[in-house]
């Protein structure tokens, strides 16, 4: 376990960890994470004296609300996620690093994402070592599980039926505007279908926090999401 997270956990948990070999393997390696973090350093700092640069500094990111640095100018989407109550946990960070736009559609972080679950697990273990007070981490939260959030390519490839999409969309248009205006509620017209589909699935899986959208997306199946994406893609 050298170099790994949770070296200083209470004895009981260490015993549990040791007993659970699978889980132990899924915990990231902070040293390996330091290497992967080089992909982030162009924009983010972490550690002593870290400050906001292109992206906000990442000290104490675990357990922090999204968009929490008062002096840093986040995108509207990130601010909205923060207001909705999105907290950076192993799960949300994992999803964001895998595909930033699946979790926060109009994020300003122009980074394609880390596709390898092991890279993400390692980077999370690394980031987790930069907290003011690591003992505050919720113990129950298994860190950096290598969850696969990625949408099955078959789902992304589904051709939506725009006629069905138009009917389903009528339900969305009670809140979202067909002319693309966004005040209070974001615009969802003219989106690339891929972005639309991953956003809807992130609500469906409750990775994104909003209760209305979790409920709306929760009862849509893959074809229906594809149909909506196909309809809204061309709506002007």
């Amino acid at each position: 376990m050298k170099g790994r997270l949770f070296r200083s956990l209470p004895a009981a948990l260490v015993a549990f960890l040791a007993a659970s070999a699978v889980w132990a393997e899924e915990i990231g390696d902070a040293e390996a994470g330091a290497q992967v973090f080089k992909k982030c350093t162009g924009c983010h700092q972490v550690g002593k004296d870290a400050v906001d640069k292109v992206g906000p500094h990442l000290n104490g990111i675990f357990g922090r609300a999204a968009a929490a640095h008062a002096d840093y100018r986040y995108s509207d989407s990130m601010v909205r996620a923060g207001n909705d109550g999105m907290i950076w946990t192993a799960e949300t960070l994992d999803a964001y690093l895998e595909n930033p736009r699946a979790l926060v559609s109009k994020t300003r972080m122009s980074f394609r994402g880390l596709k390898d679950p092991a890279d993400r697990a390692n980077i999370l273990a690394y980031l987790r070592s930069f907290s003011d007070n690591p003992s505050d981490f919720p113990e129950a939260e298994p860190t950096a599980l290598a969850t696969d959030h990625d949408i099955d390519p078959a789902i992304l490839a589904l051709e939506g039926d725009p006629e069905y999409g138009e009917y389903l969309a009528s339900e969305c248009l009670t809140c979202h505007r067909s002319d693309g205006t966004s005040d209070g509620i974001p615009s969802i017209t003219l989106w690339p279908t891929g972005d639309f589909v991953v956003a809807m699935h992130a609500y469906k899986r409750k990775l994104r926090p909003h209760p209305v959208m979790q409920m709306m997306a929760g009862r849509l199946n893959d074809e229906e999401i594809a149909a909506l994406a196909a309809y809204f893609k061309d709506l002007e």
Binding site: R80, L173, T174, C175, P211, M215
Partner: protein, 421 residues
Amino acid sequence: MKLNRRLFIGTGAAATATLAAPTVFAAGHGKPRVVVVGGGAGGATAARYIAKDSKGEIDVMLIEPSRMYYTCFFSNLYIGGVKEIDDLGHSYGTLAASGVNVVHDWAVGVDRDAKTVALAGGGSVPYDKLILSPGIDFVDGAVEGWDLSAQNAMPHAYKGGSQTELLKAKIAAMPEGGIFAMVAPPNPFRCPPGPYERVSMVAHYLKANNPTAKIIVADPKDKFSKMALFQEGWGAHYNGMIDWIGSDFGGGNVSVDPNAMTVTIDGEVTKVDACNVIPAMKAGRIAELAGVTDGNWAPVNAVDMSTKADADVYVLGDASEQGDMPKSGFSANSQAKVCANAVRGALTGSKVFPAKFSNTCWSLLDTDDGVKVGATYEATDEKIAKVDGFISATGESAELRKATYEESEGWYAGITADMFG
């Protein structure tokens, strides 16, 4: 439109005739005709969607007496001083542009055998499908001492426009330290959180303009929508101002005297300075005249909002008895789209998709302190049945409450654009 459903509701001759008819059904007179009565949340949406989606294949006539529709939704915010009356008014001009023939008149009768609607201005108009979305009327004698002739002294402000303005004027005219009383309605009624959002907004106004004034609410119920959220908000923002008297404490034992301006709650007489009586409700009268009501409301089939009484007459929104959905503008709008899709399918053979419904109701407790409750629904053989839901939690952060309020503004812009184009 599904045949199996028609089979078991098809008792009358009309239904049998429709069964035998071909997909494109216009009773031998060219273009199929849809008449919609009532240009509110349900009717305006249904008219607009049928006209828009049928692209001229169906004649759509909307009968509505008013030239402007003043929404009840957000009318409490007007009372609180958060919105202006002009923010609530919407003209029917845009609907005409979407191909709806808007006739400003009252529907005064329905002949379901001849399939015609009689107008107050004289004459009648024929229909193949009739959609009624007349909203609510009040049950006579529901509150002892109050009838419609008392609505100037003690407004209900439960229909949009002038009644809302009148109530606001009366609250503004209250003497320093005066008393505002509300008589809340029994279930089921239009907008379950409406009276309590109103109490919040009256308190908001009084706190700024008449801080020693008091609010009394006489309620025939012992609980109400979003109760924990409202009570938390009242405690936090208006502590000591609001006295809510539920049924356990005699809140249902009420009479009023509009001349003396007194309210008697469980035997105790109080002289009040402004009084808002919200009586028990029933379907808008035209539903009853059409003979599609059973008791106070019009029972409908969940798949398409057609009435149990007549497969060619549909009832939307507050007037319908459909199952689990609350009587709200959001619900009426949602039901209208399911109905529009089914009516269009029946008249032109266009594809009919499965019914899906949803609702979300926001309420404003104080400036930037919004809460919400919502649910999704599906059609079962028996009713519109709830599938899933959520509600704001007590103790939420100020940022989230502000975001929730901003969302409600987005929704208001969204639903009114969806109704009127």
